[in-house]
Symmetry: D2
C-alpha cells in the first residue's frame, strides 16, 4: 500500500520495452538521434503547434528552472503561488538558474492563486523604479500542489492577468497528463490557446524513468534553452534513451491512459475515505493526489498495517490526541484496486 508519491512506482513496462527495443547499434549523441526528432514531431502534433520547440531533460526541477531562466532576467521577480513547487521543493534552483531572480509569493487559499491576488502581487512590484525587482514571468502549477486541478477558465483568468502586464507565462506541468485527463481537454486548450508560453511537460510521475519535455510555443527561446541546458549539465550524451521513453509515452495514448488510471485510483480512494468519520480533504482531489486530515487512531491502524504515505510537517508534533493528522496520499497508475480497498478497510477500522 504505497501512497507516498507517484515518483516511487516502477517504470511502465511499455516504456522499458521501448528502451530495450532501441538498445542496439549506434546513435548520434546529444539529441542528434532520430528518436529525439520523432518525439519533437509527436509533441508538435499532440499540441497542434507545428512551430513549437521541445527539449528533453531528466528532472522536473531542470524543466522548471531552465524554462524560467529563459523567460526571466536576474533583476526580475517570478510570480508563483506561496505553496508552489518551484518555491518550496527545488532548493532555490530557479534562483540559481536565473542568476538570482526573486520569486514573489502570491497568497493562495489552498493551492490556487486567485486572479485578484495575482494582479495585486504583480501591481505591487515594478513600482519602485530600479530599487525593486522588475516584473517577470508568471508560473502556474497544474495539477496544483495540494491536488486541485485548475479549470480552463481558472487558468485563462490567471494568464489574462499576466498578459495585462505583458508577462510571459510558464506552466509547471509535472502532472500535466493527470490534469488533462481530469479536464478532458486537449493539450492545446490547456496551454497556448490560453496564452501560455512555455510548459514543463512531465513524464516521470506518470510511468517514465526520468524524462520531462520543456515546450516553447515561440521557438525564439529555443537556442538559449539549449545553451542553458548544456551549461546546466542537463544535456544527455545518450539522448536516445530519453527519447525512447518519451516516444513510448506518447504512443497509443499511453500517457493519457496512465494518467486516467492514476486519477481513477484516487477517485476510488477518495470515495472510500470520504465516508469515514473524522476525515476531511484540504482540497477536492481532482486528479491523483489528496491531502487528508484523519484521526490519529486511523493513522496508527494504517501505519501498523503497512500503508506508506507522508505525514505533513508538524503533524505529529502536537500533544493533543484529538488533533487530526494531515497526510498526503498519491496514487500512481500502477496501484491496484486491492491495495486501495485494503487501505480503506484498515482506515475504517
Amino acid at each position: 500500500m504505497f501512497f507516498a508519491s507517484d515518483n516511487a512506482g516502477y517504470v511502465h513496462p511499455e516504456v522499458l520495452d521501448a528502451i530495450s527495443r532501441d538498445n542496439a547499434g549506434y546513435a548520434m549523441p546529444y539529441g542528434a538521434d532520430a528518436g529525439t526528432q520523432r518525439v519533437q514531431s509527436k509533441l508538435r502534433d499532440i499540441f497542434e503547434a507545428p512551430d513549437a520547440m521541445m527539449h528533453l531533460v531528466a528532472t522536473g526541477t531542470a524543466a522548471n528552472a531552465l524554462a524560467l531562466a529563459c523567460l526571466s532576467q536576474p533583476y526580475e521577480t517570478v510570480f508563483c503561488s506561496a505553496v508552489s513547487h518551484i518555491h518550496e521543493d527545488e532548493c532555490s534552483a530557479p534562483e540559481f538558474y536565473s542568476g538570482g531572480a526573486k520569486l514573489t509569493l502570491v497568497p493562495c487559499a489552498v493551492d490556487k492563486m486567485s486572479p485578484d491576488d495575482l494582479r495585486k502581487a504583480i501591481a505591487n512590484e515594478g513600482t519602485r523604479g530600479v530599487h525593486g525587482p522588475q516584473r517577470g514571468a508568471v508560473s502556474i502549477t497544474q495539477v496544483a500542489e495540494k491536488g486541485s486541478v485548475h479549470t480552463l477558465d481558472e487558468l485563462k483568468a490567471l494568464v489574462d492577468v499576466a498578459k495585462e502586464f505583458d508577462l510571459p507565462v510558464h506552466l509547471d506541468g509535472a502532472r500535466f497528463a493527470n490534469a488533462m485527463a481530469a479536464l478532458g481537454c486537449s493539450a492545446a486548450e490547456m496551454t497556448w490557446k490560453l496564452g501560455i508560453d512555455a510548459v514543463s511537460f512531465g513524464g516521470t510521475k506518470n510511468g517514465l524513468m526520468g524524462v520531462e519535455a520543456v515546450i516553447f510555443f515561440d521557438p525564439a527561446k529555443s537556442w538559449e534553452f539549449e545553451l542553458r541546458r548544456k551549461r546546466g549539465a542537463h544535456l544527455f550524451s545518450k539522448g536516445r534513451y530519453l527519447a525512447a521513453q518519451m516516444d513510448a509515452y506518447l504512443t497509443d495514448d499511453l500517457w493519457l491512459k496512465s494518467a486516467a488510471s492514476a486519477n481513477a485510483n484516487m477517485a476510488r480512494l477518495a470515495a472510500g475515505l470520504r465516508g469515514l468519520e473524522g476525515v476531511r480533504f484540504l482540497a477536492e482531489p481532482d486528479a491523483n493526489m489528496v491531502f487528508a486530515l484523519m484521526p490519529r487512531a486511523m493513522h496508527r491502524r494504517l501505519h501498523d498495517g503497512g500503508a506508506v504515505y507522508y505525514l505533513m510537517k508538524g503533524s505529529l508534533e502536537g500533544n493533543d490526541p484529538n488533533e487530526p493528522l494531515l497526510c498526503r496520499l498519491v496514487c500512481d497508475w500502477s496501484i491496484s484496486h486491492d491495495q486501495i480497498d485494503h487501505f480503506i478497510s484498515l482506515a475504517a477500522g
Copy 2:
C-alpha cells in the same frame, strides 16, 4: 563502423537486465532506495575507502561541475589543462556552478600538463592580493583529452604540486575504467593514495545509459554536494534506476571488463593504422581513443565506405590537398573486430 564516440553505443545488456529486474514495486525516491545504499557500499569497497561518500548524477558535466563547485569559491581559479573538457566542452558549466570562478589554462604539449607548467601557473596566480583570483582546485583528466593515460608517477607529480600550495585535487574520470585497465592499478592507487580529493567516476562512456558517481574521500563535503546537486536539478526522484545501472556496472567487474574490451579494440585499430603510409598519432592511444592525422584520400575512402568519426575543427578548411586531416577515433566496448578490420582495410586502400 562507428568510431565517433564512446557515448553513442548501446547500453550493456547486463545493465539493461539489471534495470528490468529492479522494475517492480515501489522504492523511496531521491536516493533513499536500497540500491543507492548498495552502490555506495560497493564503491567504498572498490576504492578501499570506508569513509568516502558517493553521489550519483546522470551526466559527466554534472559530475565535474558539482564536484568543482564544492571544492572552489567564486573568487578562486581552477587550474586545468588548456585542452581540458571542463574548459572546452561544458559551455562554462564549471563557471556557472561555482558562481563565477575562473579556469586558469595550463599549457600542455598534447593533453598532459607538466608539473613544472602547473607549478608555474599556480605560482603566477594568487600574487596580486585581492586584485586577482585566489588559487583554487586543480583538475586533472584521466584518460586525458587526446587519449593519453597519465602514469601513476605522472599523476603523483601533479598532485604533489597541488599539495605544495595546499590545493584540493579533482580527477575528471569520464574514462576512469579505461585508465585503470590501461595501468593495471587499483582504484585507490589511482586516486586517494596519490592525494586526490574528489573523483568524477564515469560510467556513461563505458556501457551505462547515463550514470556517473562523484566520490569525495573526505566526507565533509558530502552534504554541500547534496544541496548543490538538488539546486542544480540533478537529484533524480527515481534514483533507483541510476543505482541499478551503477550496481550492474560494479558487479563481476563489468566496468573493468568493458573498459578492457574498449582498450583492446583501440589497440587493434592503432596497430592496423600504425603501419599505414601517412598516418601519425597525436599521442599514443593508451586507452580507447586516438587522434590520428591521415591523408585526405584515406579519409575519403573511409567516409565513402561508411566509417563514422569526427574530423577535428579546421581539418577540411584548408585548400592544401597534401595537408593531412586530424581525426578522432574512439572505440567503445561493443565495437567488433570485424568493424575494426574492415576500417583498417578501407584505410589501407
Copy 3:
C-alpha cells in the same frame, strides 16, 4: 522644507573640511593608506571590540549585500522582515551577491518582527532536507523601515531566536547612529553584546558623502569580505577619501551629535503633527523618520506650500476623498527649526 529623505541633504561641513585637509600628496591606494588604518582603530575603540575587522564601502546596499554574502551560502535562505530594505529596495542585490540565496519574509505588524514570528519562520525552513533551502543568516534593520527603533530587549529577543538555531545575525544599521542616539546605549550594547555578528554601520544618511563600514566582530570572515568587495567592484583605489569622511564622522562624536539633531528635529515635527486633526502615525517615530497618515487637504496645502516628501505607493490612486494619504517624512541633521515650524503651520491650515 525637504523631508523626503536623509540621503538628500548636503555633506556635513566638518566632513568636507576633513577631505580638503587630506587632499595633498600621495597615499597608497586600495585601503593601504594611513587614514583607513586610523578609522579601523577608532571603530574598534567605539565598539569596544579590539579584534573586530572594519571595511569601508560607499553604499548601504553594498554593505548589506556583501556582509550577507559572507554569512550565507547560495543554498540558504536569509530571514528578514517582510518590509526590510534588503528585500524591498535593493533590486535583489542580496540574491546577486550571495549567488542566489533566498530571502524568507517574516511577517511584521509595522516594521518589527516578533520573536515568535521569527522562530516560526526559521522552524518552517530547513525541514525538507535537500528540497528546501537551508536556514541562513538573520538580518534585522535598526532603525527599522517605518521609523521604529528596536529596544535592546527587543533586539536581544530576536538575536536569541537566531542563536537557538545557531544562525549568524546581521544588523542593517543604515541609521545606526540615530538608533543609538534614541536608545542612549553604547555601540557594543547594541551589537556584539547581544550576539550580533556583523553590522552595516551607516554614514551616508547622517552627513557623509557616501561611506558605510561593514564590521565583523569575528575577524575570520574579513579576508573573504575583501575578496567579495573587490569582485563586486566596491574596492576604491582612492580609499583615503572614504577614510577621511569616516574619520571626521567619528571625531568628537560628530556622528552621534548629527543623529541627535536629526532625531530632535523629528521629535519637533512629530509633536507638531500629533496635535492636528486627522493625523495618525503608522509607528511612533523613535528616531528621525515617520510614516504619517494625513487628510488630503492637508497634503495639498503642504505640497502647494513647497514641502517635499514621499507619498507612499497607492496613496493617490483611490477615489475616496475622505481616505487619508500615507506620507513618509524624514529629518536629517541639517533641517532647521524654521522649516519644521513652517511645515507644521502649513499643515495646521
Copy 4:
C-alpha cells in the same frame, strides 16, 4: 617621488572646489539631481552623440564589469588581451557580473592584440555548438596595460574584426583622456566613429576622487544598465557628488589638460631614462605609464632615495645580480618637474 600609480595622487583642486560649491541644500537622490543631467548633456556634446546614455559609477571595475554584463550573456565568452585589466586585476568581477561568462585571452606581444590574433581567437570559439561558450563582446583597453596607446587605425582594425563576427565592442578607457591627449583626436573619433558600442570613461586616474562614466552609444541598453548598477550596489544615493566631480572634470577641458600634463610628465621621465645605461622600455610610453627594465643598482639608489613605484612580480626573486628589474612607473597630472628630475639624477647615479 611617487610614481607608483595615477590613483594615488590628490584630487584636482578644481574638482574639490566644485564639490564644495555644490554642498548646500537638498538634491533628489539616486541620480535624479540636476548635476547628473548636466553631466549627461556635456558628455553627449563632447562625444557628439546626442542619443548616447551616460551612467556614473565610482570605480573602474564597476564600469567595466557592468558594461560587459550588459553586452554579454552568461553562456558567452568575452575576448580580451591576455594582460587585460579585466582579466588580471578585477578579481573576476566580469565573471561575477555577467553571471559566469568566460574571458578568452587573446595573445599579445606586449599589451596590444593584433587583428589576426583576435580573429583567430574569435574564430576558434563558437564552433562546438552548445558544448563551448558562444562568441561574446570584445573588450579593448586604451591606454593599454603596459602603457601603449592604440592608434586610431589599430583600434579600427580590432573593431572591424569584432564586426566581422557581429560582436559588440567595449573600450576600457580607465585612461581615456591620456589616450586622447596622446592621439590628438576627438572622443567620437576614438569611439563610436570606429564602431565601439560602450565605453568605460575613466576619471579617477586623472584627478577625480572616484568617478567613471559608462557610455552606451545605443541607448537600448541603458535601462538594463541601471538595473544592474542598482543590483550591483553601485547606485549612489548622493549622486550629486559624483556629478559634481565629473562636471568639473569636463569643464574648461580640465580632463584633457590634466591628461596632457600627465603625459608630458611621462615624456620628461622617459627622455631622462632613455639615455641611461642598462635601461630598456617594454613598450614606448605613449601616455603616462612605462614599464622599464633597469639595473639592480639603479633600483637600489632610487629606492634608498625615496622613490616609490612597483617592482613587477618576480623581479626580486632571482639570484642573478645582473638580471635587470622590471618596474612600473606612472605619472599623474600633479607630479612636479623637480620630482622627475630628481628621480632621473638618482637613477643616473
